[in-house]
């Protein structure tokens, strides 16, 4: 370290004793700790203090008694959750929605990035990027209301087009068979341009020598993409896949909640919306917290497992 090169006068630290070295290290940069105090305070108050509140999952929360003094009931809420007939449906809804979404959106984002990378026409390339990126800035509320408007049986522009082909459009948003497709494909419309950016960056990072060698060896473009480009972006793809797989159980609340209606609740109830419904609409705090805890733990196990698998198979893991 460069400590030795610093003039002592700047640091009027008294006699150097090995015992004090930790104290000294901290004192030397005490201001950094002061700076860190503010974000750390926020983090501890709003992220770690609620973890103490998780104990109400094992109690029956009473407003008067508060978190600490509510009566202890052990695993009651967890048993109730796992014995409830709808639990398996909710877990299945959550997982299938996530997996469908990942399976459909990953290839398309990669495809878009490859097409953008191949396009020679710079202006067109810029324009396609700019436009496909735009929906990312539209809010979830607006996106879902666009779905509602376009698919409205009477005045929706999409349903009018579909009627031309003789498709029954009376009840698209309320049709339980269509919910997953609408959720996933509207998500693809919104975020493919955004996701493609990262792959495009990875593609431009591939060395020109490899590409040229492939061309000289007589590779067609398709072959070049297959043998040079795809392996080149593999680390990015795996990293993102690991991240996404780790969040399989935490399907975003916002969009699902807005798309829900009584007629499609059996396919659209996912963990996050169920936790909200039980907790804030039915005010069953303890039960909701227990479900939330189960969800968090499954999530934690998932991300650790997926990361471990990625590491074992020699892929780029997150840590």
């Amino acid at each position: 370290m460069s400590k030795a090169t610093l003039p002592l006068a700047v640091h009027p630290v008294p006699a150097i004793r090995p015992m004090n070295s930790l104290k000294k290290k901290i004192l030397r940069h005490w201001q950094l700790y002061v700076i860190m105090m503010f974000p750390l305070f926020c983090l501890i108050l709003f992220k770690y203090v609620p973890m103490i509140g998780l104990q109400i999952a094992f109690k029956t929360y009473r407003v008067r008694a508060g978190i600490w003094n509510s009566p202890f009931v052990g695993w009651k809420h967890f048993i109730r959750f796992f014995e409830s007939p709808s639990t398996m449906d909710i877990i299945w809804n959550t997982v299938s929605l996530s997996l469908y979404s990942i399976a459909a959106s990953f290839p398309l984002a990669i495809l878009l990035a490859i097409a953008l990378n191949e396009a020679q026409h710079q202006r067109l390339k810029k324009m396609v990027q700019l436009i496909t990126y735009a929906p990312y800035f539209i809010s979830t509320v607006v996106l879902v209301s666009m779905l509602n408007q376009f698919l409205d049986p009477r005045i929706g522009v999409l349903s009018m087009m579909m009627q031309q082909f003789g498709i029954d459009t009376r009840n698209i948003m309320g049709n339980p068979d269509l919910f997953r497709h609408l959720y996933v494909w509207s998500g693809i419309w919104q975020s493919t341009g955004y996701s493609a950016i990262i792959y495009l960056a990875a593609l431009t990072g591939i060395s020109h020598e490899l590409t040229e060698a492939a061309v000289i060896d007589g590779c067609t473009r398709i072959k070049r993409i297959w043998h040079v480009d795809l392996p080149g972006i593999r680390p990015s793809v795996v990293t993102l896949l690991v991240l996404n797989m780790g969040y399989v159980m935490s399907v975003g609340f916002e969009k699902v909640f807005l798309m829900q209606s009584p007629s499609i609740l059996n396919v659209s109830e996912v963990m996050s919306t169920y936790i909200y419904r039980i907790g804030l609409q039915n005010s069953d705090y303890s039960y909701s917290t227990a479900i939330g805890l189960v969800n968090s733990i499954i999530n934690l196990i998932l991300i650790l497992t997926v990361n471990q698998i990625a590491r074992k198979t020699g892929e780029q893991a997150l840590w």
Partner: protein, 297 residues
């Protein structure tokens, strides 16, 4: 690379497919947006009868007048602006304050602090415990509930830290230290002036996040006067809770019906315009954020 090389037949077919795919992607994305804008500027009855499909039919600003007359929408707009400005300022300040020490070599125990931040990405107390905490400290139904509890996004802290590590060399700090500069002054006088791009990146990400979000407001706010725009939009666009008589005094029921529909399109335009108009100019900052974020820290 020479540009004029004649492509082989398979390559030409391939290039055709590439351009076809790009055009298709562009059309699929832009058509709904164009339709919304056109519909919002059309005479309501034409939208109702399906005459509008690409360009406005009988240009009209009628529905926009209705939108801007609605007190709820205006108050939502104002609230969202407040949340976005104040929230972004708080978030950016806290993010920099977390990222700067974490980027410094001499910060003893930084792995422990980093661990504290990272752990919150993997595990959380969840909805109800957080709700109860906010209730206990009296934050429920205050404006602060929207801007403080989720002020720090850990992935943006990581991005900022990576940026500092790459762009503020430790030697610079050592030189400054010899000249008698302490950590506070180093942050303000040296680091911040070098950090324009990263501040832009994180500020924009927070701003978009706050402007478009409704989850926190849905959970923590009960007072209509504090509702952000997205909650108002949800009421009008998705729950159809709007009384058309409050926004206009139309006689004919056909126009009234049409207005109810076109009003939604105008509202979508009004709500999305601020971001969609600004983002092309700031696109490079967003892209930069994604790219720094993708570098393993």
């Amino acid at each position: 690379m020479p540009k004029k090389i004649r492509l082989s037949i398979p390559d030409r077919i391939f290039m055709f497919c590439v351009y076809f795919f790009l055009f298709l992607a562009m059309l699929l994305v832009i058509y709904p947006l164009i339709f919304i804008i056109s519909a919002s500027f059309s005479e309501p009855s034409n939208v109702l009868t399906g005459k509008v499909w690409l360009l406005p039919v009988d240009f009209s600003l009628f529905s926009y007048q209705a939108v801007f007359k609605n007190k709820q929408i205006l108050s939502g707009y104002f609230n969202s602006a407040w949340y976005t400005v104040v929230g972004t300022a708080i978030s950016v300040a806290l993010t920099i304050m977390a990222a700067f020490p974490l980027s410094r070599k001499g910060f003893y125990g930084k792995n422990v602090f980093m661990g504290l931040f990272l752990f919150t990405m993997l595990f959380s107390g969840g909805l109800i415990p957080t709700y109860l905490l906010l209730k206990n400290i009296g934050m429920i139904n205050t404006r602060w509930a929207i801007v403080i509890p989720n002020a720090i996004a850990v992935w943006l802290v990581i991005i900022a830290r990576t940026f500092f590590q790459q762009n503020v060399p430790e030697e610079l700090y050592e030189a400054a230290e010899i000249d008698g500069c302490d950590d506070f002054r180093f942050l303000i006088k040296m680091v911040l002036p070098l950090s324009g791009p990263i501040v832009a990146v994180i500020a924009l990400n927070y701003a978009v996040w706050i402007w478009n979000g409704y989850y926190d407001a849905l959970i923590y706010l009960t007072d209509q006067k504090k509702y952000p725009l997205q909650i108002i939009l949800r009421d009008i666009l998705i729950l159809n809770r709007v009384d058309i008589n409050t926004v206009s005094d139309l006689e004919s029921s056909m126009r009234k019906q049409g207005l109810a529909v076109v009003l939604k399109y105008s509202l979508i335009v009004v709500a999305s315009a601020p971001l969609l108009v600004v983002y092309p100019f700031l696109q490079k900052y967003f892209v930069k954020g994604i790219l720094i974020g993708s570098v393993k820290g």
